[in-house]
Symmetry: C2
Subunit: 151 residues, 2 copies
Amino acid sequence: MLSIGVLAKRAATNVQTIRFYELQGLMPSPSRSDGGQRRYTLVHADRLAFIRHARELGFPLPAIRELLHLADKPDQPCAQVDRVASDVLADVDAKIVRLESLRGELQRMVRQCRRGRVADCRIIHVLKDHTHSSCLSTEHNQDQIVSKPVR
Amino acid sequence: MLSIGVLAKRAATNVQTIRFYELQGLMPSPSRSDGGQRRYTLVHADRLAFIRHARELGFPLPAIRELLHLADKPDQPCAQVDRVASDVLADVDAKIVRLESLRGELQRMVRQCRRGRVADCRIIHVLKDHTHSSCLSTEHNQDQIVSKPVR
DNA sequence: ATAATTGCTATAGTTACTATAGCTTCAAGG
DNA sequence: CCTTGAAGCTATAGTAACTATAGCAATTAT
C-alpha cells in the first residue's frame, strides 16, 4: 500500500495533481487508512503512469479519459485509439506551423534592431505599424502562447 | 469618437477583450458618453492595434505592458525592447523544440498502429509501458499543451 | 510522548480571454 | 415623440490543467 506522497514520487507528479485526477475521474478513488488517508496499490501506480505519459505526449485530459476507457476493452478494434492519437498529432503539427511563423517574424524584428534609441527601434516600429499586422493574422487562428510554468 | 463595438471591429478583437485590457491597465480608460458608455479616439485605436499585433507575435501581456511603457520614452536606448523581444523569441524556440520531439513520438506511435484489436494496439502499449516514459521527460520541462480555443 | 512530516478538504490563483445574466443606453424608423 | 432592437454596462463565472494556500488531522520517527 502506497501513500499519496510515495505514489507521487514514483510518478514524478505532485500530490495535488493526483488528487486532481481523482476529482476529474481519471484516477479511481483508492481505499483509505483508518485515519482517512489515501492508500494506493500498484494498479493505481500503473494507471497514473499511463496518464502522465499521455500528458507528456500532449494528450489533453478528455482524450486520456477516452484512451483509459478504450484500454479496458481489449477486444474492440483500435481504430478509435488511432483516431485520438492522430488528432493529438494533428494538433501538435498545427502548433508547430504557427510557432515557426512566429519565430520568423520575431527573428526578423530582433535582427533589425540596431540598438539605438527607442524612437528608432525597429521592433517598436513593426509593432506600431498596423499595415504589417496582416502578416500573421490567419483569420480565426488565435492560439494562446503562454510562458511555461516553472515547477 | 468610436464606440467600443466599432473599435472592436477595427481591431478584429472582441468587445470584452477591450474591456479586459482596460482592467489590466493596458488600455487607458476612455472618456464616457452622458449615459456612461465608452468613447474612444484614434489614439486608443493605435494602442489597441499595437497590443493585438504583439499578442499575435506571442508576447505575453506583462511583456506588452513593458513595451508600451518603453514606447513612451523615445530617447531611451532600446536595449530593453530588444531583450523583451528576444525573450519571447527564446520562448517560442523552446516550444518548437519540445513540440517537434512530441511530434516524433506521436508519429512513431501512430505509424505502428496495425489497426487490430485494442489488446495489440501499439499506441496503448507505448502509453502503458513506463519504461518508455523517460524518452521525453526533460526534467523540469512540463509545458502545457492545450487545444486552441475556437473563437 | 512528542515533534516533524505528511495528509486531509476546501478554496483561490495562474493566462488571456470568453460567456453569461440582468440591466441601461443608444440610434433609427414611424 | 416614441418605440424597438441593437449595443453597451457591470459583475461574475467558466475555460485547461494544474499549483498553492490555509487550517486542521493523521502518521512516523525519535
